[in-house]
């Protein structure tokens, strides 16, 4: 599903590199967690995978395709849920989804079906005609995910999909991701919430300072580190000093 080899990236005018030879891989059709403290390089990695940022060195492959050379083919097969609510706040959920669906080239009938299906699935059918700016944080997150699902991607990449949402919304999102994965779709997601990752992910990679710290199945890593939780593993490996 994902292979990264010696990825390096230093932003212009940055004091430190964001990625310093990051290498990792995730198996096909798994739910994979890319974890790390603030500034570890998670969002940079996702931006490179999506072709939004160019790596200085190294290679990255998604679904067996080179992210630099086969960007268009990759775009058709993946869905990306950005960390921010990438929707037009003054438009309704329906209007946002109609626009995004049309950009994906979906026909009117199928688009209408999918919008209704996902709005119902995410509990937003009654708010479909309400402007996004009037949504709660949890509703915005759910609408943000729907916008990346309309073309039913093989692989869904989510950057902090549950950040700032209430317990009910988080539970719903996690349940959806598990069920989507069961349908044969791969999922890569980043999160600060290690309990959530422990519960959801088949495999994880912890990165820090732009390098891979450890990779494996959550339970195996916990056993290896003799830890009670993934959070303990995380703190043991990345230290307890504060990150900005």
């Amino acid at each position: 599903m994902l292979q990264i080899q010696q990825l390096e990236k230093t932003y212009k005018n940055a004091a430190e590199p964001s990625l310093q030879g990051l290498s990792l891989q995730f198996s096909d059709k798994s739910i994979a967690g890319l974890l790390g403290p603030n500034g570890a390089g998670k969002t940079t990695t996702i931006s490179i995978l999506c072709g939004l940022v160019k790596a200085d060195a190294g290679k990255a492959f998604l679904l067996g395709m080179d992210v630099e050379k086969e960007r268009e083919a990759i775009k058709r097969r993946i869905g990306v849920v950005p960390q921010s609510i990438a929707l037009y706040p003054t438009l309704t959920a329906m209007e946002n989804l109609q626009y995004i669906g049309r950009l994906y080239g979906l026909g009117s009938t199928i688009l209408k079906e999918r919008i209704n299906q996902y709005l119902q699935l995410f509990g937003l059918e009654k708010s479909a005609h309400k402007a996004i700016r009037y949504y709660s944080g949890g509703m915005k997150r759910r609408a943000n995910i729907i916008a990346s699902l309309l073309h039913e991607p093989e692989l869904l990449i989510l950057d902090e999909p549950t950040a700032g949402v209430d317990v009910q919304s988080r539970n719903m999102i996690l349940q959806f991701l598990a069920s989507y994965n069961k349908l044969g779709h791969g999922i890569i997601y980043t999160s600060h919430l290690l309990e959530e990752a422990q519960q959801l992910c088949d495999e994880i990679a912890i990165i820090d300072h732009g390098r891979l710290v450890v990779q494996g199945k959550p339970l195996v890593l916990m056993q290896k580190q003799q830890a009670q939780s993934l959070e303990q593993v995380f703190l043991q490996l990345t230290g307890s000093s504060l990150r900005d």
């Binding site: 160019k54 950005p82 921010s84 626009y99 950009l103 990346s148």
Partner: protein, 430 residues
């Protein structure tokens, strides 16, 4: 094509949701255009149909003074004031009133002016008559120096002052010539007193060439001179059109900040098609705004006592010209939205740059009256070329055949703006 259309519809929806923004985008340029046309109406009329009050003090009382007064009064722009509060004006009073700024101009005709003109005419008639062998001699004496005294309000514009002096000098010269010719004609008529034929009619013969003003345009039926509406409506409508960069730049930055751009860029296919949809919407919006301003110029201005805007006969050329201007303005908006990171950087720069480009581009005052250096600088402003093209169509009965050069230059500006924006976006990815 579906992506372009979807984006066009989406941009329309976004715009329609912001009713206040929509109103401001149309109403503010409209208010500005109307206000500027009203404010500048007086200065434009100053050279056209404003009536000028001249304090007229005739201390001479002779034929020359009476005739000069009558000739000046016959000019529609001049009103001669001879009395104030039922009292004849004196030279001192006239001077005082001009000095205080109550009147712009006073003309004092001192005693002896008519006599001096008559004496001078007699001298000329005698000399010519003698050379032609005419008998007798008109009374004459040594010439004395006399001059009309003219007082100007110090605040009067130099151009206006010269124009008034020219008008006065022309009248004085004409009257002097008429008197001389009349005397000469009399002398020669006396010599041929036995002839039963018609008189010499020298004055008629000296008016062989007259001035007649006709339109320089190909369409001779259009008699159009510039006026406040004709200058201000297209000029400020173009200014308003370029202000479309504010919503464009704001939208581009907002999309980049809130992640919408990231989502859009993750959609298969070229981002250029989506960009075309966005640009198409703003170009249509800019054109709509411009034509609303023109409609206001044609229909609203007369209701406010101003002239009606004349838009010429080349409607197709006008449409194409406005399309190119709107595309250039949109391209500038994309440039501002790409180069600057935040709305706080982009919006003040965008707004102030439009004010600067409009100032050097001839929107505020015609480029022709700017200093030579600024006239060269004007060529760097797309607003200059836009206004030049519009004036060509409106005032000089132009068509696409006469504005193609301006349109090419505007398109070069647009391509340059897109190129810089593209390079900036591409660098951002690195």
């Amino acid at each position: 094509m579906r992506k372009i259309l979807a984006t066009f519809i989406n941009e329309s929806r976004l715009f329609a949701k912001d009713l206040a923004g929509m109103a401001l985008l149309f109403l503010m340029p409209l208010a500005l255009t109307v206000l500027m046309a009203l404010i500048q109406d007086a200065p434009f009329r100053e050279y056209q149909d404003i009536r000028f009050e001249i304090l007229w003090v005739d201390e001479d009382g002779g034929k020359m003074a009476r005739q000069l007064g009558a000739e000046l009064e016959a000019i529609p722009q001049f009103v001669l004031i001879r009395t104030l509060n039922d009292q004849l004006l004196t030279a001192d009073k006239a001077q005082e009133l001009v000095h205080k700024g109550s009147y712009k101009l006073a003309v004092i005709v001192p005693q002896g002016v008519s006599a001096e003109v008559a004496n001078s005419a007699n001298q000329v008639a005698n000399e010519l008559g003698a050379k032609l062998g005419a008998p007798g001699k008109l009374p004459q004496r040594e010439s004395r120096k006399v001059a009309l005294e003219i007082y100007f309000d110090p605040v009067i514009k130099q151009a206006m002052k010269l124009s008034l002096l020219n008008a006065l000098e022309k009248q004085v010269t004409r009257i002097q010539a008429e008197i001389i010719l009349a005397r000469l004609e009399n002398r020669l008529d006396e010599q041929a007193a036995d002839s039963s034929g018609p008189g010499l009619r020298l004055q008629e013969k000296l008016q062989a060439v007259q001035l007649r003003e006709i339109s320089s345009g190909q369409n001779k039926t259009t008699q159009l001179t510039t006026n406040s509406v004709q200058h201000n409506v297209p000029a400020w409508a173009l200014f308003g059109l370029f202000f479309i960069i504010i919503p464009i730049a704001g939208n581009f930055i907002r999309e980049r900040e809130d992640g919408s751009l990231m989502r859009i860029k993750m959609i298969p296919g070229s981002y250029f098609t989506i960009l075309l949809g966005k640009l198409g919407f703003y170009i249509v919006l800019g054109m709509l705004q411009f034509f609303i301003m023109l409609a206001a110029g044609a229909l609203l201005m007369p209701l406010l006592g101003l002239d009606s805007l004349q838009i010429g006969n080349a409607i197709g050329s006008l449409f194409l010209t406005v399309l190119v201007v709107a595309a250039t303005a949109t391209a500038y908006g994309v440039l501002i939205g790409s180069v600057f990171q935040t709305p706080n950087q982009a919006l003040p720069f965008g707004a102030i740059s439009i004010v600067i480009l409009s100032a050097i581009g001839g929107i505020w005052v015609p480029v022709e009256i700017l200093p030579a250096g600024l006239q060269q600088l004007a060529k760097l402003s797309p607003l200059h070329w836009a206004l030049d093209a519009i004036n060509e169509l409106f005032l000089r009965s132009g068509s696409i055949l006469t504005v193609w050069k301006q349109l090419i230059i505007l398109l070069v500006f647009a391509l340059l703006f897109f190129l810089i924006a593209g390079i900036t976006e591409s660098r951002r990815r690195r």
